[in-house]
């Protein structure tokens, strides 16, 4: 009913603003890490909020943040598809990639001394260099503080996959961290 819709809209928009806009920085942060481009991230987040508003009537949970992230992730995947040349798109990763044993990733004996601390810019760079989908899992866990269950829902994979991806992500980050440390010496 058009008449009702026009009366409901400001109220719906108000509820949507209150529920969804507080997560704008979170959504933008996720998009920045997924797309690794500021302008693309802005477009993706705007599209995400448009879609979220459109489907807000049927929103019954889960928590708003993972719900927005699931939408945003789909938008970003469409963007991957558009960038046909991107070699790291989720779809193109061979399934076997995740089963690579961890010890091939980080063969060095863990060092006794404390890990060197880097500035935020360097850490961002190390995280951004992680391959998809490990970067996605890592960012959802360490920067967005989602639980394994929520990450599984956002990425549409089983919890076990979240666990193995996160293990791989941290192993890769550790290798990159040690390499950066070596270089900085």
């Amino acid at each position: 009913m058009v008449v009702n819709a026009s009366q409901d809209d400001p109220e719906k928009a108000r509820r949507f603003r209150e529920a969804a806009l507080p997560y704008l920085d979170d959504a933008y942060t996720l998009a920045r890490y997924l797309l690794r481009d500021a302008a693309d991230a802005e477009d993706a987040v705007q599209e995400c909020y448009l879609r979220a508003y459109k489907h807000f009537d049927s929103y019954r949970g889960p928590a708003m943040k993972p719900w927005l992230f699931a939408i945003l992730r789909n938008v970003c995947r469409a963007e991957y598809a558009r960038r046909k040349t991107a070699p790291t798109a989720v779809e193109e990763l061979p399934e076997g990639g995740e089963q690579t044993p961890l010890w091939n990733e980080a063969p060095e004996t863990p060092e006794k001394q404390l890990l060197r601390r880097f500035d935020g810019e360097t850490v961002r760079k190390l995280v951004a260099a992680l391959a998809e989908p490990f970067r996605e899992t890592f960012v959802l866990r360490e920067i967005q503080n989602l639980s394994y269950r929520e990450i599984a829902d956002v990425a549409a994979v089983p919890v076990g996959t979240v666990m193995s991806r996160l293990a791989r992500a941290r192993a890769m980050l550790r290798s990159a961290w040690l390499a950066e440390q070596e270089q900085a010496k």
């Binding site: 928009a13 108000r14 704008l24 933008y28 987040v45 705007q46 961890l102 850490v123 394994y148």
Partner: protein
Amino acid sequence: MTCEEAEVLIHALIDGELDAGHAREVEAHVEGCAHCAALMKEYQEIRQAIAESDLRYKAPLELRRKIEKSLPQPQAQAAPTRRSVLRGFALGSAVSAMAATGLVAIVLRNDDEQRIENEVVSAHLRSLQAGHLTDVISTDQHTVKPWFNGKLDVSPPVIDLTAQGFTLIGGRLDYVNAREIGAVVYKRRQHVINLFVAQTANTERKTAKISTLQGFNIRRWSDRGLNYWAVSDLGADELSEFGDKFEGAMRANKEG
């Protein structure tokens, strides 16, 4: 438990995602395995370093504006009611003069005031998240005030109230009532005060009104074409004191 299994499960252990039984198993393995113990220590250090680095990005204000614009606007602006139109007439030539100079006339209805107070409290809450409080950090009013120039259609008054017990800590652009608004940030002890300033077509002076919303106190007043909302978790008495000091200093500035 093998090292292969442990190397996956130590992550779930670090993240507190294991049930008690599995957690004990992994802990038992780590205790007896120097390799896994050292790995786990490193992962914890990396995790700590990540938590302490600021890896988040702040959404550009332009993006917030675009999203706000794409949503249906509040009813009052979309379709003014008969009453608000009439009130517009009652304001008469002052409004026409301002409309002519390109100023935006906003006629507030009571329910709008309520809605805007809600938004102002939301903006206050947003500002309290890490890294969101200030876009320009300075205790110097001569740094904060010029920073707003060119960012808003009105330059909010920035007054140093340190001597009166309210420390100026900076300024920020925020978004209230579907438009950009200036926020001047003060602190008393550990309490943050956000002073939101927006232009209004109504130049009539309105005396202060204190209200409480979601546990926050709001002191609202209008003076010389500007609407003010001071929001804080400070008690109503101290927030009133802030407003009085601010208005007093404004009067002194005008006379001086």
